[in-house]
């Protein structure tokens, strides 16, 4: 790392707003040649938006990007590539049905011509990979190699395109230990050749191993830029998931001393014993009691959503047992869970939650109607009554209930989803990142409603990446790491420090 030298890349004052949410506010970033710079933050912190701005997917609202001192305004990923900024995505984004050699060379600038010169292509591909110390058969289809190798090929492609800046977007999520070793040795080699590398990850240990400096983002703002050597694990985790200014609003631990204690005695509504599924989670034991809010905390990739899917019948477990209301149950489809009184607000609102072109009214009554079946049709009037009731209760802002729900803001969509489940009068509600991408007021309203229901005897499983939120809104907190549950405690007994330690995985 060259001190005193100019950064090869500078992003200054980048802001980006999407309808309903400020994704980035005045973010700065500096990258020097020959350094590995990690960008860390939870989901919704703004990492991916920052990268999208850098690679030309979205234009920034304000701010400048300087590449070697000259301002650039990339208009598309291809444009960014041409400027020397290459990205290796988590899903690799190559054509796995083509051979390795083709994936390195095809489609690039300067490689025109009608016919393909296979021999030359193969030779050059082998050379390029050799630079990364990778010796494989370049004629084989990319799909016959592991993700780790595919990533190397993607890196080789960037190198052959003369990239000066390499962005690695969550590269280690699907890698085994030895593969991570290998990737890091490649990264170090590239570093020594003067490449500037942006490394986006949520794995703390890896950051400490490979990164020279770390920029932490939270809620669209830059918390700080730190040399890795000067930072401790705990401090990093704190900065990533740290403390929000305490707001007026629902606070679980405040309200619930007595009911919480009583709830401890009641039989659990939902009990998972050693629940697991291949490729998903293992040996998860959970209990959620009526009137109790169980928070599920952990970093990205720790298996929280996968657990929720098993509890709701979206996935079927390979191992373990699930008991609902004391009865051992096999949930083969979401409708089974719904009929037993469970509801689920998924993480990806757009894809898995709302039925965009249907109206707000229809979205709200959908789960209730599913529960009733085809023949017990809710009359139009009854539907309007129900949807009006929840629109008022949750404060959904719409001119009328016939509006297609896709046109609502994120916060209102989330409220609509919550209304859907409230209309089924559930005995348990699973919420996966319910407050992501939502403004503060809506957040408070939503969580207020949920906790109110909880007070009246509904069980809640609350998943969030914001540890502070998890602690604030839950009676008990379970922590997941590496697809297993590693700890559980009453939120009153936990302070953030302890939890962060558990998440960070080891002594500070």
């Amino acid at each position: 790392m060259a001190d005193g030298a100019l950064p090869i890349l500078e992003m200054k004052g980048i802001s980006k707003r999407f309808p309903g949410v400020q994704a980035l506010s005045g973010v700065d970033l500096r990258l020097f040649a020959g350094e590995v710079h990690a960008i860390m933050g939870q989901n919704g912190a703004g990492k991916s938006t920052l990268i999208k701005v850098l690679t030309g997917v979205h234009p920034a609202d304000t701010g400048h990007i300087l590449l070697e001192g000259a301002e650039i305004r990339p208009t598309s990923p291809l444009d960014a590539q041409r400027l020397g900024i290459s990205t290796v995505y988590q899903e690799v984004n190559l054509c796995t049905n083509l051979s390795v050699a083709e994936n390195i060379f095809i489609g690039r600038e300067g490689s025109h011509g009608f016919a393909i010169r296979w021999k030359e292509m193969r030779r050059k591909a082998a050379e390029q990979l050799a630079e990364l110390n990778l010796h494989i058969d370049v004629t084989a289809p990319l799909s016959s190699y592991s993700i780790a190798v595919q990533q190397m090929v993607a890196i080789a492609r960037s190198l052959s395109a003369k990239a000066r800046i390499l962005i690695l977007d969550e590269p280690t999520s699907s890698l085994a230990e030895e593969e991570v070793r290998l990737l890091f040795s490649v990264i170090r080699r590239l570093k020594s050749h003067g490449m500037g590398i942006l490394f986006i990850t949520h794995f703390i240990d890896q950051t400490f191993e490979i990164a020279d400096r770390i920029t932490v983002l939270r809620n669209g703002e830059r918390v700080g830029e730190f040399p890795t050597a000067a930072l401790s694990r705990i401090t990093l985790v704190t900065k990533m998931v740290g403390r929000e200014i305490a707001e007026a609003g629902a606070r679980r631990t405040q309200a619930a001393a007595a009911p919480g204690a009583a709830a401890q005695e009641a039989a659990p509504f939902l009990r998972a014993e050693g629940l697991g599924k291949k490729g998903s989670v293992h040996g998860v034991d959970l209990e959620v009691r009526p009137g109790e809010a169980l928070g599920l905390g952990g970093l990205l990739g720790s298996g929280r959503t996968e657990t929720a899917r098993l509890l709701f019948g979206i996935d079927r477990p390979d191992e373990g047992a699930l008991h609902v209301a004391g009865v051992e149950t096999d949930l083969s489809r979401p409708l089974d869970a719904i009929q037993r009184g469970i509801g689920f607000c998924p993480e990806d609102r757009k894809l898995e939650g709302i039925v965009g072109e249907l109206s707000l009214r229809e979205n709200i009554i959908l789960a209730l109607q599913s529960k009733l079946g085809i023949f017990r049709n809710l009359s139009r009037r009854r539907q309007q009554e129900i949807s009006d009731e929840y629109i008022a209760k949750l404060g959904i802002v719409v001119p009328d209930a016939e509006m297609p729900v896709a046109k609502l803001s994120g916060g209102n969509q989330q409220k609509a989803l919550l209304a859907r489940w409230m209309a089924t009068d559930p005995r348990m509600l699973i919420l996966d990142e319910p407050t992501r991408g939502i403004d503060v007021a809506a957040k408070a309203e939503i969580m207020g409603q949920v906790l109110d229901l909880c007070d009246r005897g509904m069980a809640v499983l609350f998943i969030s990446s914001e540890m502070e939120e998890v602690l604030r809104y839950s009676d008990r907190v379970a922590v997941m790491r590496d697809r297993r549950k590693v700890a559980e405690m009453a939120s009153g007994d936990a302070d953030e420090h302890t939890v962060f330690q558990i998440i960070a995985g080891g002594q500070a």
Partner: protein, 343 residues
């Protein structure tokens, strides 16, 4: 030192540095082709055992002679399906080609030297138009080519309801031309055309930028775009190529049938799709090759020949059997997909 933050892995992976693929017993890429060839040999063998006179070189060559037009059509279809699309208009374009040729040559006295290039251009333009609509308006290929299918048939009937016999000397000459082959056998000129098209297709698919882009699009259109490949242009070209192949197949069909008729090649799109899928091309795109398609066509021809030799079954059985084989291969592909998704 245990690294607690390292994720536990889903799929096993071979360590990368010095990685080798699994030792090559049978390159899994070639498995579909092997299955197809085996199926063909099985059927041809069954026929040879069941019927006298089946096992002869001429019978084998007749597979090519009688199905040259299907081969050309299916080769064009292969490119479309590999890219993840579909073209339902091929049979109708064949019919339209025969009709236009017959009308121009017989009723207007145009020379074949003008007519043949003209209908080839027409086929290409037809395909080009469909490709543009599919790409630019982002409408599903099946509906655009379905409409194209009916449009082409309609244009046929517009030219003439009845069939127009071709008696032009050039056509009759080519139709009756027999090129001597080994051991007193012979093939028609159509076979030569089909084989040339096959060779050209192999070159196009494996040695040109266009061909590789077709495969890339079938693998992942989004990745292909990100990799800088000329996706929109290629998609339009794919349908243009299919239209051209259909027109060429139509020319070959004209030599074969010596007439133009709106009912020609009815349902041929199904046969072309079947031959392509049985030949090992994945309906979802990204994988397949024209040599396999050729064998798919041979299988079609064998079924037809078996039925002919049998003498009693109606020729409708050919379509039914092909349909069932298509179904079988689709089910196999789905099962394979599920198995590899779980792995």
């Amino acid at each position: 030192m245990r690294n607690p933050a390292a994720p536990s892995l889903a799929a096993p992976a071979s360590a990368a540095g010095g990685a080798r693929r699994a030792p090559r017993r049978l390159d899994p890429r070639h498995l579909p082709l092997v299955v197809t060839i085996a199926l063909f040999l099985l059927m041809f063998g069954a026929g040879s055992v069941a019927f006298d006179g089946f096992f002869s070189l001429q019978v084998f060559l007749n597979l090519f002679v009688d199905n040259a037009f299907l081969a050309i059509t299916a080769i064009g279809m292969t490119f479309v399906i590999v890219s993840g699309g579909i073209d339902l208009s091929v049979g109708s374009v064949i019919a339209l080609t025969t009709m236009v040729s017959a009308a121009l040559v017989e009723q207007h006295g145009w020379s074949p030297a003008v007519v043949i290039p003209l209908v080839l251009c027409l086929g290409a333009v037809f395909g080009f138009t469909m490709g543009v609509v599919i790409q630019y308006f982002e409408i599903q290929a099946f509906i655009v080519t379905l409409a194209g299918m009916f449009l082409a048939r309609g244009l046929c009937y517009l030219i003439s309801i009845n069939s127009i016999t071709i008696s032009d000397p050039f056509y009759t000459h080519v139709s009756m031309l027999r090129i001597p082959f080994l051991f007193d056998t012979s093939i028609s000129f159509n076979v030569v055309i089909a084989l040339v098209v096959l060779a050209a297709a192999v070159y196009l698919a494996h040695y040109t930028r266009f061909g590789r882009t077709v495969y890339a699009i079938g693998g992942s259109e989004q990745s292909a775009l990100l990799m800088g490949l000329p996706v929109p242009r290629t998609k339009v070209l794919i349908y243009t190529l299919s239209g051209f192949c259909s027109a060429l197949a139509g020319v070959v069909f004209t030599f074969y049938m010596l007439s133009g008729y709106g009912l020609h090649a009815g349902g041929m799109e199904m046969d072309a799709i079947s031959a392509t899928v049985i030949g090992g091309t994945l309906l979802t795109g990204g994988s397949g090759n024209v040599v396999g398609t050729m064998f798919g066509v041979l299988i079609y021809g064998t079924i037809q020949t078996l039925i002919m030799f049998q003498g009693e079954l109606s020729s409708w059985w050919t379509k039914i059997v092909m349909g069932l084989l298509l179904l079988l291969f689709c089910l196999l592909q789905k099962a394979f997909e599920r198995r590899s998704a779980r792995a």
